[in-house]
Each structure stands twice: as structure tokens, then as C-alpha cells.
């Protein structure tokens, strides 16, 4: 049963106010390790993605989340941005936000443009909803889903409104130290994804910025994150056929050369498990006890290196000289420009955890 209670997470940590005149947020950086508490300023390179993460077995997320809502989040390609924490955002005020945003869009559209003789050509209906059941910890705020419906320009009177824009804000397995350090009135939903006309996206962002005093920024998916996705998705092959592992590189020559490297899923899986086995053997020699579910960055790098060296053996072409632009499997696709598509709900949580981390890291502090 899906619980019908929505709540904004409470902060259990009292934050020391350094300045009495304004509230401040502790920087994400300073939550990353003990070093910060000793007063050292961590070097910028100290801010980086987790070097190991949990490759959780698939959740049957369809049992926790409404499948209709889930369908809305999947199968479309979304453009990602990061968002700084929202001031005084309340999950209980969603209806009011929907009305405000709708009015904002209509007002902005009528501003400064040619006068519309027949009155407002298309009325916008905005809906905000909570996608309950996605988050796993108490520190994560519930995912918020936004949809804009509108009538097309020359629609007949009785034609229903269509969905023209969707977006969501989410935080999946965000760093608990950071989340707990936020002052009481801030809600952290750092990952924003949207699909629809660019002008609507910028209107939505403007409204959020002026209502919740936050700021948005583009979220690129780095080479390391793409490699993580390659490994994490391949890791799922036994449970859910990934059908192919496709990677696209661009080499900086004139004219630019695009290399699409598609690996048979079974062979990719065998390479991946051989890399994991070797790594575990090494760890056992060092007598570390390791949880099988944890994946280390070394394993990821070794896997990518294996793929690249097979390529090099044939073409004597160094893929490292280029940049990895896109990875895709049957579970989804990700581009370095920050576009992502999730096609299988089972591994959504793993993917979103990685992306939440990227968003938190990219946020300015």
C-alpha cells in the first residue's frame, strides 16, 4: 500500500549560525570527510564521485511506486540540470504551486509579444505531483513530478489538452551528512530532468528561481560517470537482458571521427565478471572482507580498459585520445551533454543515485 503521507524531511542536526543576519548552508565539500572538521580546506580534487557504490540487485520498484507515474518518468529522453536547495518548498503546497506556475507562464507569454486578437490562444494547465515510494532513506525528499498541458495552437474547441512538457525533481540516496547539515527551511532536490519545449523549460526554471531562491545549471555527465553506467548496466545483464552494450566515442581529428563500439551482451557480461573475479581475488589476498554488492572504481576502469585494449589490438587506435559521448543498453541511454533516457524501471534507482551524486557535486557552494 502506498502511504498517503507526504512530508518534508526534518533536520535532526542543529546548525551553528555563524552569522546572525542570514542563514547559510554548509558547503557540500565540507561534508565529504573528517578532514574538513579538523579545519583543513580540502583540495578541489578532494571533491569527487564516490569511488565505490552499491550495485543493488533490482528493486521491484513497481511494487512501491504507482506504475502510471513510473511510466511518465521513463522512455523519454530528458535533459538534466542541477538545482541548489529550495528555500521553503513544501510538498503539501503542490496544488498552490501548480496554480502559481500556470499563472506565471501565461503572464510571461503575454508580456511584450504581439497582441493576440482572440484572447489567450492556449491556456496552460500545470500539475505538480509527488512520486511516492522512490526514495529509500529518510533524508531524501520525495520526488516531485511536474507536467504542463496545453492545447495546440489551432485546436478545435473540444480537443483535449495534451501534455507538452514534463519535468521532475529528485534526490535519490543523497549524501546524508550534507542533507542533514542543511538548515531547516531548505529542501534538497538536486537533480532536475525535463522534456519539452525549451521556452517552457526556462519559464519553469525562472519561476523556481524566483519562488525558492535557488539556481539551476547544466549537468553534464562526465567520462567517469559514463564509465560507471557502462559497468553498472552490464552488471545487470544476468537479471535483465541488456541486449547490447553500445558506446560512442568521438575522436578529435579533421573531420571528426565517430566510433560506435557495440559489444554482444553475453560477452560484455563475461568480461565484467572476469574483472570482478580478479579484483576480488586481489582483495582476498589482502584479506579484506568485501561485500559482493559493492562495485569499486578500479573494477569499472579495468572493464573499460579491457574493452579499449580489445579495440586497440585490432585497430591500433587509441580510444583514450577521444571522448566518450554516449553509452546505451536496453536499460537506458546517457549522453555526455546531460541527456538521459531510462527504459527499464528496475535499475532506475541505481542510475538516479549516480546522477544525484553528480548533481550534488556540480552544485556551486
Amino acid at each position: 500500500m502506498i502511504s498517503s503521507v507526504t512530508r518534508t524531511p526534518l533536520n535532526s542536526v542543529v546548525v551553528q549560525r555563524r552569522s546572525k543576519s542570514k542563514s547559510y548552508r554548509q558547503s557540500y565539500r565540507s561534508c565529504l570527510g573528517a578532514a574538513s572538521r579538523l579545519g583543513f580546506t580540502p583540495a578541489l580534487t578532494g571533491r569527487r564521485l564516490n569511488t565505490s557504490r552499491r550495485a543493488t540487485k533490482s528493486h521491484d520498484i513497481t511494487r512501491k511506486v504507482n506504475p502510471e507515474q513510473l511510466a511518465l518518468l521513463m522512455k523519454t529522453e530528458l535533459q538534466l540540470s542541477y538545482v541548489t536547495p529550495l528555500y521553503q518548498f513544501r510538498h503539501t503546497q503542490l496544488k498552490s504551486y501548480a496554480r502559481q506556475l500556470s499563472a506565471f507562464i501565461v503572464a510571461e507569454k503575454q508580456q511584450g509579444l504581439a497582441v493576440e486578437v482572440e484572447g489567450p490562444q492556449s491556456s496552460f494547465r500545470v500539475s505538480f505531483s509527488v512520486v511516492q515510494g522512490m526514495v529509500e532513506t529518510d533524508d531524501d525528499a520525495e520526488t516531485v513530478f511536474i507536467q504542463i498541458h496545453s492545447k495546440p495552437l489551432f485546436a478545435r474547441k473540444d480537443e483535449p489538452q495534451r501534455s507538452v512538457w514534463i519535468g521532475w525533481l529528485t534526490c535519490i540516496n543523497g549524501n546524508p551528512d550534507y542533507l542533514r547539515s542543511l538548515p531547516k527551511d531548505f529542501i534538497c532536490l538536486p537533480l532536475f530532468g525535463s522534456n519539452g519545449a525549451e521556452h517552457l523549460t526556462s519559464l519553469v526554471k525562472s519561476w523556481f528561481q524566483q519562488t525558492f531562491d535557488c539556481c539551476f545549471g547544466p549537468l553534464e555527465i562526465s567520462d567517469t560517470s559514463l564509465q560507471w553506467l557502462v559497468a553498472l548496466w552490464t552488471n545487470c545483464h544476468m537479471e535483465s537482458n541488456i541486449q547490447h552494450l553500445k558506446m560512442i566515442w568521438t575522436l578529435p581529428v579533421v573531420p571528426p571521427l565517430q566510433v560506435t563500439y557495440t559489444v554482444n551482451p553475453q560477452d560484455a557480461w563475461e568480461l565484467w565478471s572476469s574483472v570482478r573475479k580478479d579484483q576480488q581475488e586481489e582483495n582476498n589476498r589482502g584479506e579484506e572482507v568485501k561485500d559482493e554488492n559493492i562495485v569499486d572504481i578500479e573494477e569499472v576502469m579495468r572493464f573499460t580498459q579491457g574493452l579499449k585494449s580489445h579495440f586497440y589490438r585490432h585497430f591500433r587506435l587509441n580510444l583514450s585520445a577521444g571522448s566518450l559521448n554516449q553509452v546505451s543498453t536496453a536499460l537506458g541511454s546517457a549522453k555526455c551533454s546531460g541527456r538521459i533516457k531510462i527504459t527499464n524501471s528496475k535499475y532506475m534507482i541505481t542510475t538516479l543515485t549516480l546522477l544525484t551524486e553528480c548533481a550534488l557535486l556540480k552544485m556551486p557552494t
Binding site: 571521427l257 557495440t262 559489444v263 580478479d278 587509441n318
Partner: protein, 345 residues
Amino acid sequence: MDASLKSLLQRLIRRIPSQTLKITLDKWGRLTTAQQQSMDFTQPKRVLTEKLLGICEENEWTVKHITELEMIFIMDNPNQGMWNAFQLVDPEYDSQSVELMQFKEQFKCHLSELVKHVSVKMKKHTDEAVWIRIAWGDGFSRPNHLKPTYIVHQLQTPYVFVTSLTSKQKPLLSQALILATRYQAIKDANLNGRKLTAIRDLLMRQYQQVFPTKYASPLTEKNQTVSNTCIEREQAETAANRHQMACEAFGDGMLPQLQSAVYKLETKFKDHANKTMTEREEPFRCVVKFASTNLLESLRHCASSGIASTPVTPLLSSIPLKGKNYFVITDNGPGPSSRMHQPQS
């Protein structure tokens, strides 16, 4: 006017850009001077189409005339659609003496025997190539002029280039070709591309090739005046070597514009860092596709800049060397390509 004729003309005009249309119509020469002058090519296409439909009725053009116009357009603008290269193999003793008239007669004759209703048009281009347009019909229907196949055959060479051919039509065409050219079989040359001129230049090596030589550059003067003796480019010699090897593999100057190359790899995984995979018996199956607006130039630049190690691997240099852009690589060497044989009589 016949509806199918109208639709054929409309579709053709839609395909041709306005400026090219003027040139093509002039070349075709079936408009009277008055009609030519009445066409204003700055008007929108819709208007031009209406005008031409009117002229078509006036002059009583038939399907034959329209297909003639289409052929002129395609022959002058061959770099569209997807062209596939084929190669004739095992020539009979008299294949070299096949000349144009004989080829034309034989081809038309054999194809009509194989396909009940077929419309064939053949034309010799200025550069020794024979262009063939085929509109296919069958026992029950007339030739379909909306989906013609175009074929280009360079006489005296074993190369044939084809566009818009379905798998059903392929054996019929192959049969007619091998009978008319006096070869025993035809096979897929595993080379495709959008630009006919590029794949033809590649196969017939009509681009600037570079051969290995002891003295790559002209011998330098002994008493050379150097602008600044203190400046020496450390990498100059290695860079020059790389450039030389890159050109030896791919050619110099302007290279034929190929768009892509596909390699299907079915070789074993060998990496000294990974024992488990190296011991594996099964091949590591993957497909690699290289794509660029000018593939050969990109690859040449990879080699000369060091991104690809020199000497260039035979997998890549096979593209210009063998004139192919589709390869199946197994541990025993490249795989066999498909062949169509003449039945043993």
C-alpha cells in the same frame, strides 16, 4: 492526363532543386523555346510543377519521356541515395571483347526473359560508364516507375554499382548482368556509400596514391640557411614519418568521400592483464562502426597525428586497398563474401 504519369512527373519535380531543374530541362531539350522562356525558375516549386504539368499535356509526353528526364537528372547528380558496389568474377574468355552495343542487347534480352514486365533504359555516359534504369513489374503488374533501380557499369572493368535494389530483384539482375558481360559470377564488393563518385574513385584507385619510397622528401641542400639555428623541432622526424605512412595507407590530397565503415569482429579476447578472458574459447563478439563526413581523411589524420599507431593496421588500410567498407573479421582472417554464380549449363 493519366494519373500515374501526373504523379510520376510531380514526384520528379519535387526531388529536383529549382536551379538544377533549369539545367536538367535544358539538357533534356524537349521544351520549345517559347515554353522554356515561359518558365520562371525563381517562382516556388508548386508553380513550376503546375506549369510543367501543363506543358506535359501540350507536348503529349509519355512515361518514356519522364523517365528519360529522371535519368538525366540522376546521371548528373549521382551522389544521393545509397550505392552498393558489386564485382564480377571469373571472366569467360571473351569478356574483354564485350562492347557497348552487344552488352546493351544481351542485357535487355536476358532481363526480359527473366522478368515478364520490365522497362529498361540504357545510356552511355561520357566517362565510359553505362547507366541502366530498370522499372520492375511482374507477371501481373506493369513496371513500377516510382521505384526504379539504377545501375552503373564501367565497361572493361568488373565493377557494377547499384542503388535501390530489393532482395527479390537482386538474383534477377545478377543473372542478367553475368550473362551480358560474359562473367561467371557476381559478388558483393562490401563497399557502400552515398557518393557514387567516391566509391568509384576508391575502387578504381582514382585518387592520389603514395607509394613507399626510400627518400620521402626531396633531398635537402647541404648548405641550408636556417632561420634560427637554436630552434629544432624535436618531433619533426617522427611526425614526418607518421605523415608518410598515413599517406601510404590512405592516399594523398583529396580522398574519395566515404561515410562509414563497419567491422564485425568475431575474434578471441587476448589481454595479458586478464587471464580469464584470454583463456576463453569463444570469440568476443562486437561490431565497430566508424563514421565521418569523409572517413578516409579522418583515418589519415588519426595516423598522422599519432592517435592511430603507425604503421597503419591492415584492418584500416584495407578500406582503400581492397575498396571495401564492410568487413567480417575472424581469427582465421576476413570472412567470405557472398557470391552469386551462373548455373552450370
